[in-house]
Amino acid sequence: MFSKRNSILLVAFLMVATLLAGCGANNSKPGNSGEASPSPTQTQTQTETPANTASPEPSQTGGEVNIYTARHYDVDQELYDRFTKQTGITVNVVEGKAPELIERIKREGSSTPADLFITVDGGILNSAKAEDVLQPIVSGVVDEQVPAELRDKESQWIGLSTRARVIVYAKDRVDPAQLSTYEDLAEDKWKGKVLVRSATNLYNQSMLASFIAIMGEKEAEAWAAGIAANLAREPEGGDRDQAKAIVAGVGDVGIMNTYYVGQLAASQDAEEVKVAEQIGVFFPNQQTTGTHINISGAGLIKHSKNKDNAVKLLEFLTGAEAQSKISQANFEFPVNGQAELPELLKSWGEFKIQNVDFAKYGELNPKAVEIANKVGWK
């Protein structure tokens, strides 16, 4: 049953398959520049390398800027569209998970089409820097709009917004006077009453990393062990789910990000609004080390081909107008002091923040994961 014809057939099919794959590749370009671009303002999108000038259909006069982003907010896209309208610079976007995007940039090396890397979490921003895929952002405008403590030391990345990780509590069961610090939540008196999501989540890892930086590895491990022992239930769900669990009576106190409280309060779902009304927000460690915050930021890619456009976009995104919009839509804290805060954020007032270099989040993240695994915080 060994036949020449069979083999020829086999090879022929493989070749057809390969060809087809190739055609798919070729088709994808016109397809993407025409039908597949996400919004009308981007009809000129080119998926080929930005520097490709041989293209028969040149981009708009403004050129373009390519973003790899791990931020998934509608407001981001709105701001990009607005930027394009103002400057004529096309914004091309690939969304993904941050570590995967870094891996992609790394592997693409000097050929990478990416100009900006945008993500949430200082640890990740630092790891992008540590992987040597970023370069300093040189812009007087940005320096003016973003305070130095919300920028990388070498300005390889800059903050776009911040969020605080705070204690929330059941208004009917907990007197805020009982609350003081994160450390306090690890004490015996909260046994079976603490709610926090899984330690596999980045927000918790960064928080734990910041504690390692402040109190040292041993203390931080003891704290994590205390939290793990005090949990009202096995960690599950996201931050919002902790708030709901508090209202449902599963536990009394929880740890969550501020902007989720804002989103619950602004939800179109009446039940979620009720949840937001029944929980209180407490900014811990005000007398001591300050409340843990995390940062959302953008880094300029080392091998960026559209550096000027990228910097322009950063200047735009950190401008007062864009910053107000981010804060209004997402309940994040703006980095630009000129920006206007939504009412809810205003009501929380000023608070003392942790004084930890965001770079530490990245450096200590593996240690944090190790500790969480060790103490059994799932």
């Binding site: 049953m1 060994f2 036949s3 014809r5 069979n6 083999s7 057939l9 086999l10 398959a17 087809l20 794959a21 190739g22 798919g24 590749a25 994808s28 370009k29 397809g31 993407n32 039908e35 671009s37 009308p40 998926t47 080929e48 390398t49 490709n52 041989a54 998934h72 907010y73 091309n92 976007v93 690939v94 969304e95 998970k97 941050a98 995967e100 891996e103 592997r107 693409e108 090396g109 000097s110 050929s111 089409p113 899984s198 596999t200 890892q205 960690p235 599950e236 769900g237 789910d241 669990a245 209202v247 449902a248 939800s267 179109q268 779902d269 993240n365 944090a368 994961v369 190790e370 695994n373």
Partner: protein, 547 residues
């Protein structure tokens, strides 16, 4: 046989066509081999920590999830298949196709939907609280747990087993089952003594698909906080920033799965139940009466409600309520991208699947078997790991093709292939080869060889035989392979996230965009559209059967 052939064949095919075909297959295999190659890299410091803190718990977690999901899915799948193939009862004809529909729902979306529905602010508790002033004690409905993950994965994966078993029972088992009935066996006894052992190959094939889906699942396990090998891989990557150790783990997972494949194959080899003569007649279902009939209908209804109607109704309700807020003009593009990517990907997969399943049948050697198994191995590995393999190979390829690009007038170091849809499509092909290949392999196994042989002795070439005799006979398998693969690709997320070109959004990535930010309501509309596209393709699959 092979050895004795060599001199004769070597003489006749000096050019080594088979070598070429092996190289062709290797292109598909390269990214998989790239991941496997990680096994041979020296372990770094993290690896020992990973082994110490992660591996045992997480392997046990995976084993538990696989075992229970596999067991319950097999139970539900086979029971439903037997009810529908063996009996008539109210609504049977509806359930015959409706029970396949859960396949169109991505499990992670089902997970979000169920946890929101059953959560404190979800419709169940909210209604009880507001209308009846009943507050459920916390933890009464607990979806977010190991049990919840098993529940979700079982409900949305059992149709694989249901589908394969039902088709098998209807077509292959009639004479055995009728004999058992004639010999006076009670229905229960017929089921356990005849139906179950008889349909083992079909059940196992379905169970294997379920097992692979469970092993590679990240969405559900991560959301519900279940510790599995997949979540361990991502924790190592995302938490410890250690891609190498993550890939190493994935490689071990892949080895385990290829092993599982081989064992299953070997177990099946020793017992060949499937009869492949052209003489079997379809099974004639018996009519159920009274309580039994309503019982059967009720069982089907419960499963259908849980695995499809309820979550879809909830998604629809959310879409209507919140859809306006997130509606953007690009939804048409999302739909177009979703269908285009899945369509092209599926077509390539089926082409390769046809060639390799035919080759495996013609050259029935252990080598071909191993090759085809490896081509299917991508199914069991988390998509993101496959993606890394593909990314590495494509960037390497772009490097190699640099002179060509220069000749075409592009800049130095331009990336062409890895910025095109080709990269994503390759990812799809590697990840979902198994569904396409599985369907065609089954099609070829069902088709007696004599048809091809008769054609050859009538003076027809192998190619003509393939086109005119084999293709019409495996048409059904081809169609079901197409639909299964198509639906899989529509649902796919991690590969699409990492390998897509600029500005390429699909319904799946849009749903993810909202869901990952805990905006389940906003994720409803893209999710619903996704399910609808899957639904339409499943209906196409079932249309010829309903005639």
């Amino acid at each position: 046989m092979k050895i004795t052939l060599l001199p004769r064949s070597a003489g006749r095919h000096v050019n080594g066509w088979t070598m070429t075909s092996v190289i062709g297959a290797a292109v598909v295999l390269l990214p998989i081999l790239y991941v496997l190659a990680c096994l041979f890299r020296p372990p770094n410091d993290n690896w020992s920590k990973v082994k110490q803190f992660l591996l045992t718990d997480y392997v046990l977690g995976s084993a538990k999830l696989v075992f229970f999901t596999g067991f319950f899915a097999a139970f539900i799948g086979v029971a439903l298949a037997w009810l529908i193939a063996g009996y008539t009862f109210p609504l049977r004809n509806f359930f015959k196709w409706a029970l396949v529909l859960p396949l169109a729902v991505p499990p992670y979306i089902a997970a979000y939907t169920y946890s929101s529905m059953t959560g404190y602010t979800g419709i169940i508790q909210a209604t009880l609280r507001n209308r009846f002033d009943v507050a459920l004690p916390p933890g009464t409905i607990e979806v977010m747990s190991d049990r919840g993950a098993i529940f979700i994965l079982t409900l949305f994966l059992f149709p694989y087993i249901f589908m394969m078993t039902r088709v098998f029972l209807e077509r292959q088992s009639a004479s055995f089952i009728e004999n058992a009935r004639l010999l006076g066996h009670k229905p229960i006894s017929v089921f356990f003594r005849v139906v179950l052992p008889l349909s083992r190959p079909a059940v196992m094939a379905g169970v294997m698909l379920v097992v692979f889906e469970v092993l590679s699942d990240y969405g559900v396990a991560n959301y519900f906080g279940v510790q599995t090998v997949s979540t361990a891989i991502f924790q190592t990557w995302f938490g410890m920033y250690d891609v190498d150790s993550a890939m190493k783990m994935a490689a071990w997972l892949m080895i385990g799965v290829i092993g599982l494949f081989m064992i299953e194959r070997w177990l099946r080899r020793s017992k060949r139940y499937a009869s492949t003569t052209s003489r079997s007649h379809p099974l004639r279902p018996q009519r159920l009466k009274g309580l039994a009939a309503w019982g059967a209908a009720a069982f089907c209804t419960v499963i259908f409600l849980l695995a499809f109607a309820i979550p879809i109704a909830q998604l629809a309700a959310w879409s209507i309520q919140y859809g306006g807020k997130i509606w953007r003009s690009d939804f048409a593009d999302l739909i177009a991208n979703t269908i285009k990517g899945a369509g092209i990907g599926t077509a390539i997969i089926l082409l390769i699947a046809i060639v390799s399943s035919r080759a495996a049948r013609m050259f029935d050697s252990p080598f071909m078997q191993a090759l085809s198994r490896m081509m299917s191995a991508g199914y069991s590995v988390p998509g993101a790991i496959v993606a890394i393999g593909v990314l590495a190979i494509f960037i390497e390829l772009d490097g190699r093709l640099a002179p060509l690009y220069r000749a075409m007038g592009k800049d130095d170091g331009a990336l062409v292939l890895s910025l095109s849809l080709a990269m994503l499509l390759t990812g799809y092909v590697i990840r979902f080869m198994a569904t396409g290949y599985g369907a065609l392999e089954a099609g070829y196994e069902k088709m007696p060889r004599v048809y091809s042989e008769a054609s050859r002795t009538l003076g027809r070439s192998s190619l003509f035989t393939f086109l005119r005799v084999e293709l019409p006979l495996i048409k059904g398998s081809l169609l079901s392979g197409f639909v299964l693969t198509f639906v899989e690709i529509i649902k796919e997320l991690p590969l699409t996230l990492l390998l897509r070109p600029f500005n390429y959004d699909t319904l799946s990535t849009r749903a993810y965009q909202y869901a990952t930010d805990e905006r389940v309501f906003d994720a409803a509309l893209p999710s619903l559209l996704l399910v609808m596209i899957g639904l339409v393709s499943v209906l196409i699959l079932l249309r010829p059967e309903r005639r």
